[in-house]
């Protein structure tokens, strides 16, 4: 088969890091080629080189067997390379058609020709099954459809090679299925697709071939037929990995967290959490599943005192904590692994040791009166870094110099270093590699077994299903359904995540459109 793209011996160095080390990568015409690797393996760097955002230090790129020089995204687009980023680059207040033609508007006598754009979009829709209404406003579209607009945008610009960067991160399982169908249809008609992911199941669902990267090098190329999940995981991590979490049945204790008819507004003043009631018992993990942006952030912030409660009640260990400040909640024995570790979790310009006492710096032994005891802080740092296996040159390194996985371990180390009765973990493994994820999952289960109540909020279904004892699904600020973990299958959860109640059946599911 003819090669659509070949990258030969690509090397890219950043100060102190060899991000890509003589990577060679081939993409055949009409192929879905999965680029698999942990964070920091060099996937993004490689794709940014292909898309003209970085220049390689060494190596050559061939498109259709001709050497290509790609100096900017503009060059990349002109040579038929399209990229769909994880974060969409769409303008919400414009229509689909306007977004698609943005930057390459068709004009007739100086006036924008929207009808021709709409016609082209309908052609694509027809050809590739990318069903999307050109006259709809992007802000009214669900995430899955917005992603389709991005794909249409790339095709409209003449893309033959399509890069999809972690495209399923924001989708429900059904939406992901729909995306895979579209990908197959595109590949069937000669488009070549590079699919970046770290989710092993997706690789098997859609890939023709798989290239695995680790530490900036290609560690292997294989096909779904030859590979197994555990084999791929081992290639990514460099050692054998336990994919499923082993845990004993839950020993449920008393109610630790009780939420009654909670209402919370988001930054724009809309009711993001609209009447949620739930209970978490000591010794159990309650998983909150849901597509991103359905009120999870606001729920967690309200429970931890970071966001005012608009209505309802929060009771922690029998005490009304509805109007408590963060410090009062922390002092009741609540730990919080925040969903955005850079915004809330860490002070990146502080040393590790200081980050490890971020919420306990004012108490003995770290401070007596107002005088800080730096020796105790450093000592605490050394101890926790060893215990939680944070990879760092020293406790004096700044938190911002660590990798994402180590930063997350740092947060977990800090939150677990206090006596805690309730743990609120929001997206605790977001963006983490397999190794760090495994580590953090084990620690969560350990805490549960030690009698801690755990509220786990995650958009990763696998994570919810493997860790939770009970699962609740959040949809548009409401708990739309809940069940014991053994009844929570991807199908059941997926429908609930899309807003379809069990009793209604699959009608009205937007992925049917």
């Amino acid at each position: 088969m003819a090669l659509a793209l070949e990258m030969r011996g690509i090397t890219k160095r950043f100060p102190g890091v060899l991000a890509n080390d003589h990577i060679s990568f081939q993409l055949e015409k009409g192929e879905i080629h999965c680029l698999l690797g942990e964070n920091g393996a060099g996937k993004t760097t490689l794709m940014n080189i292909l898309y003209g955002l970085y220049r390689p230090d060494e190596g050559r790129i061939f498109l259709d067997s001709r050497e290509a020089h790609i100096r900017s995204p503009h060059d990349a687009i002109a040579q038929g390379i399209g990229m769909v980023h994880q974060h969409f680059m769409l303008i919400p207040v414009m229509t689909v058609a306007e977004n698609v033609i943005l930057g390459m508007e068709i004009t007739r006598r100086g006036v924008l020709d929207r009808s021709q754009a709409a016609r082209r979009i309908r052609e694509f829709s027809h050809q590739y099954g990318l069903d999307v209404d050109p006259t709809a406003y992007v802000k009214d579209l669900p995430v899955g459809l917005q992603q389709r607009v991005e794909i249409v945008k790339a095709l409209y610009r003449g893309a033959d090679v399509l890069i999809l960067d972690e495209p399923t991160a924001v989708l429900t399982p059904q939406e992901s299925e729909e995306l895979f169908r579209i990908m197959r249809s595109l590949a069937g008609q000669g488009k070549s697709i590079i699919f970046i992911t770290h989710k092993l199941k997706e690789v098997f669902a859609v890939a023709d071939r798989i290239t695995v990267l680790r530490d900036g090098r290609v560690v292997g190329m294989t096909t779904p037929k030859e590979a197994t999940e555990s084999r791929l995981a081992a290639m990514m991590v460099g050692r054998e990995v336990i994919l499923s979490v082993e845990k004993k049945p839950a020993q449920m204790g008393d109610v630790v967290l009780k939420v009654e008819d909670l209402q919370v507004k988001d930054d724009r003043g809309y009711m993001a959490v609209d009447g949620i009631s739930l209970e978490v018992h000591a010794g159990e993990i309650l998983g909150i599943a849901g597509v991103q942006g359905n009120g999870q952030t606001e729920l967690v912030e309200a429970l931890t005192g970071l966001r005012p409660v608009a209505g309802g009640k929060v009771v922690i260990l029998g005490d009304d904590a509805t109007a408590d400040r963060p410090r009062e909640i922390i002092e009741q024995g609540v730990a919080h692994i925040p969903e955005d570790r850079h915004k809330h979790g860490l002070v990146l310009s502080f040393p590790l040791a200081d980050n490890l006492v971020l919420s306990t710096y004012y108490r003995p032994p770290f401070a007596y009166g107002i005088a800080i005891n730096n020796d105790a802080i450093d000592e605490n740092g050394h101890r926790l870094i060893a215990e939680f296996d944070v990879r760092t040159p020293s406790v004096y390194s700044l938190a911002g110099t660590l990798s994402g996985g180590n930063q997350q371990k740092l947060i977990v180390a800090r939150e677990f270093s206090r006596p805690i009765k309730l743990l609120i973990a929001a997206q605790p493994t977001r963006g983490l590699d397999v190794g760090s994820t495994e580590f953090i999952h084990q620690r969560l289960v350990q805490r549960r077994d030690a009698g801690c109540a755990v509220l786990l909020v995650s958009v990763e279904l696998d994570e919810i299903m493997s860790l939770s004892d009970r699962v609740a699904v959040i949809y548009r600020g409401k708990i739309i359904g809940s069940m014991p973990a053994d009844r929570a299958t991807p199908e059941v959860l997926g429908l609930l995540m899309a807003g379809v109640k069990e009793t209604e059946g699959p009608t009205g599911d937007r992925s049917d459109r």
């Binding site: 915004k343 809330h344 310009s349």
Partner: protein, 377 residues
């Protein structure tokens, strides 16, 4: 910038090695900025037809060439250090205190008032009282914009600028002819002279160098101690570096805004108190100092580190003090010094230029100090 500077962190030696290796290229930048600014200044002097060696020799001699020159340089470095610390402390909390000038005025006003109006106290009561009340004046002037930011979310840049106008015009009114604080026996608009019991003693008579210098040196270490050895400082720095994380960790962001602005104002107030109690011994109308504004430059040059502030202050004092003799020797305008100062600031602020000029690699993308934080909250 060695012995004291090495103490930053005040910590075992491994810690400082780790801290220093991360920042060594950072530290080179202020030096290179000064050097580059002087080089460009030389070009300007040459272009204006004057002698470059004469000019810089004059600058150097004027500032450091005689005991009197050195004493005067330190006289100027004293308020620069205190006001520079004020601005640096604000930066550490993510606040841009442009109000050091106004806080300086209030410090001078309150101190001079205690200095001339309170009578019959011995020097060891009167002098500390005058200094303390001066500091309080600055603290008050800093606390107001801090409180407004905490309560109403109004930006401290706007409010401190406005507070500057209020301070300057209020002092003008108070000390002018027929004003409440005007000395009626005087022909010029000024307050009465402070009593000898409120005067900061000269350190090495006959030079004007006064005990305010000791206050400034003490303040350097107090601010250092506050920022790195106390829970207050831990909070201030955490709020400055990442207010969201500070709030998450249970700190009160708004309380720290008020505290930092109050401390900042206190330091600027001390600078003002030192000037009237140590030098002028009265507060004249049109008491234009410029120290408050220059202190922003000094804090930037010192990278907002209290132990570096005195060095930046001395540099600024040298430029200011030596300018006169430079003018005489080379026959060029003192304004040239303003050009050099402006270039230093430009190079420190836009350190990319210096990094590019001297091929210094980019350090890791972590900002240690957030200087300002936009206009929203």
């Amino acid at each position: 910038m060695t012995a004291e500077a090495k103490k930053r962190g005040g910590i075992p030696w491994r810690k400082w090695v780790a801290a220093w290796s991360q920042r060594v290229s950072d530290l080179a930048i202020p030096f290179l900025a000064v050097f580059t600014a002087l080089a460009i200044g030389a070009v300007v002097i040459w272009a204006s037809g004057a002698s470059v060696p004469k000019a810089y020799q004059g600058l150097f001699e004027g500032a450091l060439g005689s005991p009197r020159g050195i004493a005067e340089t330190l006289v100027i470095a004293t308020p620069y250090t205190l006001a520079g610390l004020a601005v640096a402390l604000g930066f550490r909390c993510g606040l841009f205190n442009i109000g050091a000038e106004g806080q300086f005025y209030l410090g001078a006003l309150f101190a001079v008032w205690v200095g001339y109006s309170v009578k019959g106290l011995p020097i060891f009561v009167h002098l500390p009282l005058a200094i303390l009340v001066g500091a309080l004046g600055g603290a008050l002037w800093g606390a107001i914009p801090g409180f407004l930011k905490a309560r109403l979310g109004t930006h401290e840049v706007i409010n401190t600028i406005m507070m500057n106008y209020i301070a300057v015009l209020m002092v003008d009114w108070l000390v002018n002819r027929k004003g409440p604080m005007w000395d009626a026996t005087s022909t010029v608009p000024r307050t009465p002279y402070i009593l000898p019991t409120a005067t900061l003693p000269q350190l090495v008579p006959p030079y004007r160098l006064h005990a305010g210098l000791l206050i400034a040196i003490a303040a350097v270490f107090v601010v250092y101690w506050l920022l790195w050895k106390t829970t207050l400082g831990f909070e201030i720095r955490a709020v400055g570096a990442n207010p969201s994380a500070a709030k998450y960790a249970g700190m009160s962001v708004t309380r720290n805004f008020v505290l930092a602005m109050t401390f900042s104002g206190t330091l600027a107030g001390l600078a003002g108190a030192g000037e009237v109690l140590g030098l002028n011994r009265t507060l004249p109308a049109a008491f234009v100092s410029g120290y408050g504004f220059d202190s922003i430059a000094i804090a930037l040059l010192a990278k907002s580190h209290p132990l570096f502030v005195p060095f930046a202050a001395i540099l600024w004092a040298i430029l200011r003090n030596g300018a006169g003799l430079m003018q005489v020797r080379a026959g060029i305008s003192v304004d040239l010094i303003n050009i050099v100062q402006a270039l230093v600031i430009a190079f420190v602020a836009a350190d990319e230029i210096i990094r590019w000029l001297y091929r210094i690699g980019k350090k890791e993308e972590i900002k240690e100090v957030v200087f300002t934080r936009g206009w929203g909250r």
